[in-house]
Symmetry: C2
Subunit: 118 residues, 2 copies
């Protein structure tokens, strides 16, 4: 009977994932998108723009995470030959991106397998 | 290096899970808690009270889900010998409870395994 209900309802699991440290929210989808965009563009300005986030808000996101974990997640620098400066994701920032993506991917695998069963 | 970062940060995955039908939110943690409480108490009034939800709000939660999926998730009845009436979770309601719990349990398994790896 559950099979009939499952097929009729055809429900899909959705979720919001985030990472906490000692019960405090540290890193969610917004920060993930921002860090990835900074990583791809090599700049906080360009990265924030790419995902439709203001420069000021993006700095707030980065600062809040760095304050909670007590480590830098991006390094900013003033540009050399081409000017304009840029931003580089630190190893800690890369770890956050990878950890978040990994858990999310596992969740996606569960959600898909689960549909096959129903 | 990731091992050192992982140990220092000691981040735990957290999530909110919900079920959608054709892109529409159907069933999340609040409805899950409510249905379980109704199932345990055999009454909408007692179930809502148990999780600190008003009777009116609880009815709204139930009605909204039933409207979206086009099926009943609880049956209510006027009480017999002992009076007072009650509510019984339908097979569709039981399916929602079980499906939600099952995915959530798999997510918990992922989150725990993942910590062991890090």
């Amino acid at each position: 009977m559950d099979d009939g209900i499952a097929k009729t309802l055809n429900l899909k699991p959705h979720w919001k994932l985030w990472l906490e440290k000692d019960g405090v929210y540290v890193f969610g989808p917004g920060a993930y998108d921002l860090l990835r965009a900074i990583h791809e563009t090599g700049s906080l300005t360009a990265g924030a723009k790419k995902i439709g986030m203001s420069y000021r808000y993006a700095w707030g996101v980065i600062n809040k995470i760095e304050k909670i974990i007590g480590m830098r997640i991006i390094d900013t620098f003033r540009g050399g030959a081409v000017g304009g400066g840029g931003a580089r994701i630190t190893d800690v920032g890369l770890y956050l991106i990878e950890r978040f993506a990994e858990v999310n991917k596992e969740f996606e695998r569960i959600a898909l397998n689960e549909e096959d069963d129903s």
